[in-house]
Symmetry: C2
Subunit: 540 residues, 2 copies
């Protein structure tokens, strides 16, 4: 027997329509790529998104077509989020930090038909254009005076497209399972793989994000995502903020400490999010200027694990609560988030600091399991590590064009490629990427734990643990360390520092101080490259 | 092009499974109908719900079958919410305050096959049994020693059903559009009409309820619904609380001030909800005892509109914020809720009090429109009243068996039968039920406004405005007033009181002091009966 409830589809235009109707004057504030601050309300954003929807249709964009962007976090990018998905097409947000060959590769793999780009990328796009097999329209996200001269001939101008089209537009009825956006994971191995989000998955994910135990967003909040809109859709804040009528502050391309602090102060941001390195810049700037961001209530930190000292500094200097989050492009990105339980009320400060180092707990909507090498569910003891697998309505079921199918298991779960533990309270802690794991004498050694251990030494700027072959133990850990400028430390001192913090047999046989580590386009150490370098060192 | 995201259905078992896994020891605390306080965790509740699922299947309950309850807000009722829906059957929560003939009518209309009842209703069910054409199984929600002797012969015992069945049960895969629960609106006219909720609508509604701008629920909350689980599912808190792992406090049948205060104090409730009369009892008890409910953060008030003085007393004496809510059985029940906007930060106390008298604003998921008599959308000026119509994924699309089809409009909207205004900030204010509206000289007079106006007089306990025929103006208002015990007031004094508060032509021609008003099973004045009494007064 079917329910007798209205069969209204969950779709993205409904979010912006809601924001425009109920929070029409609530602002989207952008630090534009051209320079000045731009501000307008959700009603204006809707009107312009509708102009753009008309423009896209006039350009021949059909439902299912991929429309690409090479763009920072701005109001125009926001408009494209809704205009492209709203006509039933798919917004492909390309990471401009990829190597140009990879950009061409993903654009061709996605079969993008239109490419919108920020003025920053005029030269890049001019050079790439001949390699883009399917792109037939280029459009610069600016006005005529700012059109970069190196852009391909015939490049259209965003503001002219807006001006030339009507804000009258009726969104087509969309199946809620229709694709809305495409985002490639820039994995550290192999070609990037595309995650194809849908209207339903994105709406459900946005509803989950606003919950008190997640980002805790209301109409009284001002959300400043210190993440780019090509990184898992800036953690989907461009959907979550209008869903509740929160102010949305878009930082353009500038994610440095001074720029973020200026915006957060001026716009009285209440919620910030970003990867750990962002906060180092913010804190250093606050230190240098003596400023305080008193309006901020919560700071979400994800992408990689923050150190205890970083969490403490953010909480002390911003007066905000840190919520660590784990997720990935394939999980929209919400996987788990670290919020306290009722039993933690009045918890000891040291215990709270320990708890906050974990990646977090599951919320309704994401099912998690951790399987050992024998395929059995691991005990929840905070020690037994295994393959982290997830399932839920905002988790990918496949990659675009069926790449990387081995991650999608026959029983409906997605293998994240992470190795993790769950403790008795079900807080998740990542210990490794599966492909980076060190196996010594048949047991796993956590590279993340080794890196965390040495990183707590004041002289350490960055660290990477890798396994090196060993005749008896198969593998033993090698710890590579980059020192902070102006600091010094001896390898033996660092080894002793680690020895005090991990199991005895985990202590690396060697700590090696190096000048730099190879970093990929998402800011992560490229461990495969590192292992190759170690195995076959280039002549000095 | 379809998205490549997992096609996980939104279903109710997933909520309880989540709560059991992630908040297994978080408590459901019940004041049982038998007397003692009962407490257990969500993991226990899941295990017992699975026992009951096995029991229902053993009793021959098939997907789509209706299983009825005549029951208060208890843990056993909670278990049935999940057990019945979880096997694909439909839980029909009958309002025991209905007249016995109406109870028989709805049970027969719903074609209930099983009837679960609390011990309170042993005699009632014993008398009703012969009239229940389709019920083949009766079960008392208690243990053997408490089985009421007047229950029908062969009545099963809930705890014996639990004991006799295994907690091992795999929920069947359910289409998310499958029906899960049936609730009849006990309208003041005609036969009750059934609203058939589904898994999808209920999950989406629960996700909407927990948002910071709605009930604002996290794992750290303790939710005490001062509403019965047969009234729009206790405003769906039995779904929303486990969705976030909040403690759930179920008051059994006792919604009087002392009982609620005792539970709220002992269990440190953070969120309460109920109709206005509930709070009068709570406040009077707090006054009498000098107690304070310091743990409460928010109090949702709905069902009918609270007066300014009631809101002020709740906020003062509980130290909580009042969130007025409007909704109905047909809207699951969330329609609108009164939470402040960013612009209201630091608002003047008097303005805040005025704002809180409105029913609230729309959240994403419920679309509202107000149509004038000519079918045009009314201006948002806080004055222009019209028919309130709604649309959304948790709004009914029809009544069970297609009763009352005229409320479901051809263009997909539901006509609520309420008359309302929207102001410039989109706060909704109800002015009347469409069938109660007074039309005088071609213009509407709001009966709710007249009742509010006279109710602010200290001597007034209750009031009802009705239209009486008038040769010149078609109708004129008559205001019937019940005085508070120990107070006195003259009709002219009350008329003068009203005259200072409404438009001059709204002032009723007559204020009549009466001993009582006819109250229906949901606590609302039966205005149709009142109009009939006035038109054809019974001999004194």
């Amino acid at each position: 027997m079917l329910a007798l409830m209205m069969d209204r589809p969950l779709n993205l235009p409904s979010i912006l329509e809601y924001a425009a109707a109920y929070h029409g004057e609530r602002e989207i504030v952008t630090r534009t790529v051209e320079g000045p601050i731009h501000r307008y309300g959700y009603a204006d954003a809707l009107a312009r998104a509708k102009c753009m929807a008309n423009a896209l249709i006039a350009l021949g964009v059909k439902p299912g077509d991929r429309v690409a962007t090479l763009a920072w976090s701005t109001h125009r990018h926001f408009e494209l989020y809704y205009a492209v998905a709203g006509i039933g097409a798919v917004l492909h947000t390309i990471n401009p930090r990829l190597h140009p060959d990879q950009i061409a590769w993903v654009a061709n793999h996605a079969e993008d038909t239109v490419l919108f780009f920020d003025v920053t990328f005029g030269e890049l796009v001019g050079e790439l254009a001949p390699k883009l097999a399917t792109v037939r329209t280029f459009a610069a996200m600016t006005d005529r005076p700012h059109l970069p001269p190196q852009a391909p001939a015939g490049t259209l101008v965003y503001e002219e497209l807006i001006d030339a089209h009507s804000p009258q537009f009726d969104w087509p009825e969309l199946d809620e399972r229709q694709a809305s956006a495409l985002c490639y994971t820039s994995g550290t191995t192999g070609n990037p793989k595309g995650v194809l989000y849908g209207h339903r998955s994105t709406v459900l994910h946005a509803m989950a994000l606003i919950a008190p135990d997640c980002f805790d967003l209301s109409a009284r909040d001002a959300v400043l995502p210190c993440a780019q809109m090509y990184h898992a859709n800036a953690w989907c804040t461009p959907y979550a903020a209008p869903l509740v009528g929160a102010k949305l502050i878009l930082p353009g391309r500038q994610l440095d400490g001074p720029a973020i602090c200026e915006l957060a102060l001026a716009e009285r941001a209440t919620f910030l999010l970003g990867v750990p390195t962002i906060w180092v810049g913010v804190l250093d700037h606050l230190d240098a200027t003596g400023q305080r961001l008193t309006s901020v209530r919560n700071v979400a930190i994800g992408g990689s694990a923050p150190t205890a000292s970083l969490i403490r500094r953010v909480e002390d200097q911003l007066g905000a609560t840190v919520r660590q989050i784990w997720g990935m492009t394939e999980t929209s990105p919400l996987g788990v988030i670290n919020t306290p339980l009722a039993k933690h009320e009045g918890e000891d400060e040291a215990l709270a600091a320990q708890r906050k180092l974990k990646q977090g707990r599951g919320l309704w909507g994401v099912e998690l399991r951790i399987l050992g090498e024998d395929g059995t569910v691991q005990p929840r003891d905070g020690v037994s590590a295994g393959a982290l697998q997830v399932r839920g309505p905002w988790v990918a079921s496949a990659y675009f064009k069926n790449d990387g199918a081995q991650a999608f298991l026959g029983d409906g779960w997605f293998d994240t490629g992470d190795i993790a533990t769950l403790d008795a309270e079900r807080y998740l802690r990542l210990t490794d990427r599966a492909k980076d794991v060190i196996k010594s004498g048949g047991e796993w050694i956590s590279t993340l734990d080794l890196e965390d251990a040495v990183s707590s030494h004041p002289a350490v700027a960055m660290a990477a643990a890798v396994g090196v072959p060993h005749p008896k133990w198969d593998e033993r850990p090698l710890l590579l360390v980059v020192l902070r400028p102006g600091f010094s430390a001896e390898p033996d001192e660092l080894k002793a520092h680690v020895a005090g913090r991990v199991a005895r047999w985990w202590v690396p046989d060697e700590v090696r101080i190096v000048e730099s580590l190879p970093i990929g386009p998402t800011g992560k150490v490229l461990k495969r490259q590192l292992r190759e370098q170690i195995a076959d060192p280039a002549p000095v």
